[in-house]
């Protein structure tokens, strides 16, 4: 006869700590998952392990020195961050950027979107279980793009190449021919990754209808970028709040239907193809010569007192800069609205009820950059 208390064997939920050091947390992100069996009952994300005060230090630096911090905060889409920062300061100072500098900026930002999405494809393959093959394929292409960035700006990762008012110096003279070469290799790279992952039965089984997120929940949580478009909201800053010279190009904006992990992957894959077409159009229209910095640039950049909220479509979403200035050559307050921070706040609602292995896939599909989350 089974004793009374033994009949009611209740299953105890086990808290598991996916700690700051874990192969699939894309950096120092910690989440405590409470799981019963394999199902996730509760998720508490802990961030702040990479909070290193980019905003406070930018307040102590003048406008030329602050560009390095924009790079280091969003270290996978550095040109988008620099573009956002420069647009904010130029709007406050009322500077007109010359034509040639605008085109070069757009070409480099879209190339940077390609290299950031390649990094996502590589990391997402590792989360789904591939033993590194997607990483090596993706990084082979990323290295070609980084070669172009290195020839142009002199550094592989931290470019600091955009300056308030235009560019730091002229690009190399075989720039257009080099970019054409890289675009051919990138198209082959996108086709390789597409064949490796998209039609793979196990990959589809692991990604379809996992972590589905409806459109109005996405808007309520302030998601942006591929996550928002995957949920079915047709919103892209390059078209709906056009900045720089994006209205001159024609490209498509992919929007998903189910908002699950597979749609996010497809949206990013489609965005890579669109970026290639944008770069080709920009290369044709690139004026062969012309100034890259306006003639009358003040020696010390001083902004009139005032505030501006400039936003840019970075590969992860809307990367915004809220710049408050009390005059002088230093920003008084500079808040970086990072897309990874807002996308990550919706992790709990996406993951509760899924399996433990899906929690890893959902976190991977968000493509977060930890320095961007903690600034």
């Amino acid at each position: 006869m089974v004793a009374e208390h033994e009949q009611g064997l209740d299953i105890v939920d086990m808290p598991i700590n996916m700690g700051p050091q874990h192969p699939s947390t894309h950096g120092v992100f910690r989440m405590v998952l409470v799981i019963s069996g394999e199902k996730v009952v509760d998720v508490t994300p802990h961030i702040g392990y990479m909070h290193r005060g980019g905003e406070k230090l930018m307040e102590a630096m003048d406008y030329r020195q602050g560009i390095g911090y924009a790079d280091r905060t969003e270290y996978l889409a550095q040109f988008s961050a620099e573009l956002g920062y420069c647009l904010a300061v130029e709007k406050l100072m009322g500077i007109e950027v010359p034509e040639r500098a605008e085109y070069i900026r757009i070409i480099l930002t879209e190339l940077n979107r390609l290299s950031s999405h390649f990094m996502f494809m590589g990391a997402f393959g590792i989360d789904s279980g591939l033993f590194g093959t997607s990483f090596t394929y993706a990084f082979r292409e990323r290295e070609y793009i980084q070669d172009v960035f290195e020839e142009v700006s002199g550094d592989r990762l931290m470019y600091a190449y955009f300056r308030v008012g235009g560019l730091a110096w002229e690009v190399t003279d075989n720039f257009t021919q080099r970019v054409h070469e890289v675009l051919k290799k990138t198209q082959k790279g996108i086709k390789d990754l597409d064949d490796l992952l998209t039609k793979n039965e196990i990959f589809m089984a692991r990604c379809q209808n996992i972590g589905a997120f409806t459109a109005d929940r996405a808007i309520a949580y302030g998601l942006s970028g591929p996550l928002l478009r995957a949920s079915g909201v047709n919103w892209d800053l390059r078209r709906d709040e056009p900045y720089s010279i994006y209205p001159r190009f024609t490209f498509q904006i992919p929007v998903g239907n189910y908002g699950d992990v597979y749609d996010r992957y497809l949206v990013r894959l489609e965005e890579m193809r669109q970026s290639v077409s944008i770069i080709e159009q920009a290369l044709e229209k690139l004026p062969p010569e012309g100034p890259i910095v306006p003639e009358k640039m003040p020696r010390r950049l001083r902004t009139p007192p005032g505030e501006v909220y400039a936003k840019v479509e970075s590969p992860r979403g809307e990367w915004g800069v809220y710049l408050v200035s009390k005059g002088g050559d230093k920003p008084y307050r500079l808040k970086m609205r990072s897309p990874s921070f807002c996308n990550l706040s919706a992790l709990r609602e996406m993951t509760v009820g899924q399996f433990l292995a899906d929690a890893v896939m959902i976190l991977g599909s968000m493509d977060i950059v930890l320095c961007d989350v903690d600034r």
Partner: protein, 227 residues
Amino acid sequence: MTLPDGQEEEAQGDAGAAPETPPPAEAAAPTPKPAAERPARPAKEAEPKEAPRIPPPAGSINEILAAAVPGVAMLAYMVPTLQGEAVAVEVGRDDLVPVMTAARDDKRLDLKYLRCLSGVDWQDEGLEVVYHLSSFTTRHQLTVKTRVTYDDPVVPSLASLFPAANWHERETRDMFGIVFDGHPNLVPLLLPDDMTDHFPLRKDNPLQEIEEWQGENLREGAGEGEE
């Protein structure tokens, strides 16, 4: 990238003096350099101290907002954005929630997308919380601001209205000490869990000095690189 100390001193002094019309209380620049030693700089034209507050043109969304929330004191002015000008509204602290619910639920405004919530530390004019709202259907953009003083930094929380505000409010509390009452889980987000009395982003929190030599006594002979 690290700031050369000499240039930083001079920049600190320079920024402190330039913009405000120096009333005596504020004029105490951190390093009172004797004026003679500094090179005489050409007299600069008087820079405008405060941004000009241009009232928004008729028919802009702050009228709809005022109609939706009658009897709320609102100071409205234009704020530049990349696509031109947008409306900013300054609201008192206790009628922040009705304004926000109206902005979100009113069909003509439909501002459902809370883009960014940031705290600004205006030193003597108190702490300010800035909300950037925008809408997908009507393509409106609105900035809502509230001011609180230092000794009573409490702002009603919007976490129930906008789930996006949940993490932003926790971060602003960590950085500025503005307490959002009504917030479901106001535990430190970016700072360690037991640090609730240190606010890094406030203006009175100085940067730390660079230490000359580090890690010399950790391991005997670690420093000299012996053998």
